[in-house]
């Protein structure tokens, strides 16, 4: 091959445009941050970062209009990648909108926060579009290293630094497993490109026990990242201790990107092993749903409760992954989009309600919210009803398509136990609603006005939830069209 074949073409860059915009924008913010004075309010940088994310969102259709592999097959631009890029960018936009007022309240409004969000989003975009195990690793690390800092951004806060430490240690531990799996796959097949691995495994020349061991190592690494049981232990502590807008970010964005990697690797490269890993995924999905839902029942801290609920939701998505079918993949995609809206909406409300230093985060603190702030209470209610899976919300159709896919693929027990879990989950979401609507307010102080960014986030997510609850086809048709991978 001539050296010229290695030079990227203009189309290569177009396929990679969203990440390029995020990276260049992040570096630009880094410079601007240093140029503005030390004690100035840096909210403007936050708005600039939000504008960069919107720019990246506009770049996603550009990348999609030029489908195909780029950079010698390292990155692939397809509908699947575009979908997950959009979901993670939306979560990032919500995060930026919610964090300007949050950081001003905590007196920590330095510009680094915003560029770390941009870099993390770039990493998640790379994960969504990577077609190569080393790119998966790099994307994962770009996303994770920025997230570790975000989790401990309030560095004088004991809870925040504890959260960052746990996220960092467990995250690196998981990465080591993933990486060891990658090295064995490389050793067995001699390649790291996902489609090439598929071809090598289908040829059947490699030692099957080694392939299974390598796939198992990678499964452990990815299970950590999506917080699947029994590798979920880090999630409650991390989401409880991190600043509220970051908790929302971590529980929706990186998780969606990790699921994108999960789906792509296991349905492209390890397709020939599907009969072997299906029982493992079955147990993972069931354990994750049960541990998430049943632990959430006892929580009095709302952030910790939402953390357990996010574990349970990962369990539902794993049910869709277990089906190993295009219908299941589409259901997982729809669910992750719906989950991003409803989960971030709930965290946005908590961001405001927690108050300075996040001292009001128990269920009791929500008492009488409907009487004091009816609009905020109504918007939070929409998010919680969607998380419960009530009809006319996105969450309902999300669960419906997942369990339909599971039944179509003869996973009857898993569907039955999953539905049972949704019923259990209703209890702890209804506890929040009951506190909001059926109790008298604890104080009669005038409530603080909701900052504009948080209001916008709440309105957008509530509108999205209701729209998808009435017209699920808007997203599902797209997901169905692009749930097949280039194999």
């Amino acid at each position: 091959m001539s050296p010229a074949a290695f030079y990227p073409t203009a189309t290569d860059y177009l396929r990679f445009l969203p990440e390029l915009i995020l990276t260049i924008g992040g570096v630009l913010l880094l410079v601007l941050e240093a140029l503005t004075g030390d004690h100035k309010d840096k909210s403007k940088l936050g708005y600039l970062a939000a504008a960069i994310v919107v720019g990246a969102m506009f770049a996603v259709p550009v990348a999609l209009a030029n489908p195909g592999a780029s950079f010698n097959g390292m990155i692939v631009s397809d509908g699947f990648a575009a979908f997950f890029r959009m979901v993670t960018l939306l979560v990032g936009l919500f995060t930026l909108l919610c964090s300007t007022s949050y950081l001003s309240r905590e007196k920590a409004n330095t510009g680094e926060f915003y560029l770390l969000v941009l870099f993390s989003l770039a990493g998640q975009g790379i994960m969504a579009a990577s077609n190569e195990l080393i790119m998966v690793f790099l994307g994962l690390e770009i996303a994770s290293i920025s997230s570790y800092v975000l989790a401990g951004f309030l560095r004088d806060d004991k809870r925040g630094s504890e959260s960052a430490l746990k996220y960092f240690l467990l995250g690196s531990f998981a990465t080591a497993f993933l990486l060891y799996g990658i090295s064995w796959i490389y050793g067995v097949t001699g390649v790291t490109n996902l489609t090439a691995i598929r071809a090598a495994l289908a040829a059947g020349t490699s030692a099957p026990s080694m392939v299974v061991a390598a796939a198992a190592l990678m499964l452990i690494g990815l299970a950590f990242k999506v917080s699947a049981a029994p590798f979920q232990v880090w999630a409650p502590d991390v989401y409880q201790g991190a600043p509220a807008p970051v908790s929302g970010f971590l529980s929706a964005g990186p998780k969606a990107a990790a699921f994108a990697v999960f789906l792509r690797i296991f349905q492209t490269s390890f397709d020939s092993l599907s009969s072997r890993y299906e029982p493992v995924l079955w147990i993972l999905a069931l354990g994750t749903m049960f541990i998430g839902n049943f632990s959430a029942l006892w929580q009095s801290n709302v952030k910790r409760m939402l953390a357990y609920s996010s574990i349970a939701h990962a369990g539902y998505v794993l049910v869709a992954v277990t089906t190993n079918s295009n219908v299941g993949t589409a259901a997982a995609m729809f669910y992750l989009a719906a989950y991003a809206l409803m989960n971030y909406g709930a965290f946005a409300a908590i961001t405001h309600l927690a108050g300075r230093h996040e001292t009001h985060v128990t269920i009791d603190d929500l008492r009488g919210l409907a009487a004091r702030q009816p609009v905020l209470a109504a918007l939070l209610t929409v998010c919680l009803l969607s998380l419960t899976g009530v009809p006319l919300t996105a969450g309902f159709f999300g669960k419906f398509y997942i369990f339909k896919a599971a039944i179509d693929n003869h996973l009857y027990w898993l569907s039955a136990l999953g539905l049972l879990n949704s019923a259990v989950a209703a209890y702890y979401y209804l506890r929040l609603l009951a506190a909001m609507y059926m109790y008298e307010p604890k104080t009669t102080d005038h409530p603080e006005p909701v900052p504009g960014g948080i209001q916008l986030t709440l309105w957008v997510s509530a509108a999205g939830i209701l729209t998808l609850g009435v017209f699920p086809g808007l997203v599902l048709d797209y997901a169905n069209r692009f749930a097949t991978f280039v194999k």
């Binding site: 401990g152 630094s161 960092f168 531990f173 050793g187 201790g241």
Partner: protein, 112 residues
């Protein structure tokens, strides 16, 4: 100069499997250390040990195939490990400043 060891020692090659077994042992030591050690710095060193075990296996496979890509991957891993070290040590420093301890058992403010 006379050698203390027989000449075969310098010409015989170590079989590649030995490197892979060493890599697996290093990885296992790292994983066990992560799970059972109590000092945060030691735990972090165990993670680094796991990453270096990965590097060893990458390089071994690369040598076996006679291709350089595995060696390049090990550079990627090193760079990422360095970036991770920068962030990780900063986080550990914050923990120490906030609490004056590096024992993982004593870092349990959450979930109370």
């Amino acid at each position: 100069m006379t050698h203390l060891l027989p000449p075969e020692f310098f010409t015989a090659t170590v079989p590649l499997n030995a490197y892979l077994i060493l890599s697996a042992i290093l990885f296992a030591i790292g994983a066990c250390g992560f799970l059972f050690r109590k000092n945060i710095i030691t735990i972090y060193m165990c993670i680094e040990l796991m990453l270096n075990a990965v590097n060893l296996s990458f390089v071994t496979f690369s040598y076996q195939f006679g291709k350089v890509d595995g060696q390049i991957y090990s550079f990627f891993v090193m760079v990422v490990a360095a970036a991770e070290a920068a962030v990780g040590l900063a986080i550990i420093l914050t923990i120490f400043r906030n609490r004056n301890t590096l024992q993982i058992d004593e870092i349990d403010t959450l979930n109370n």
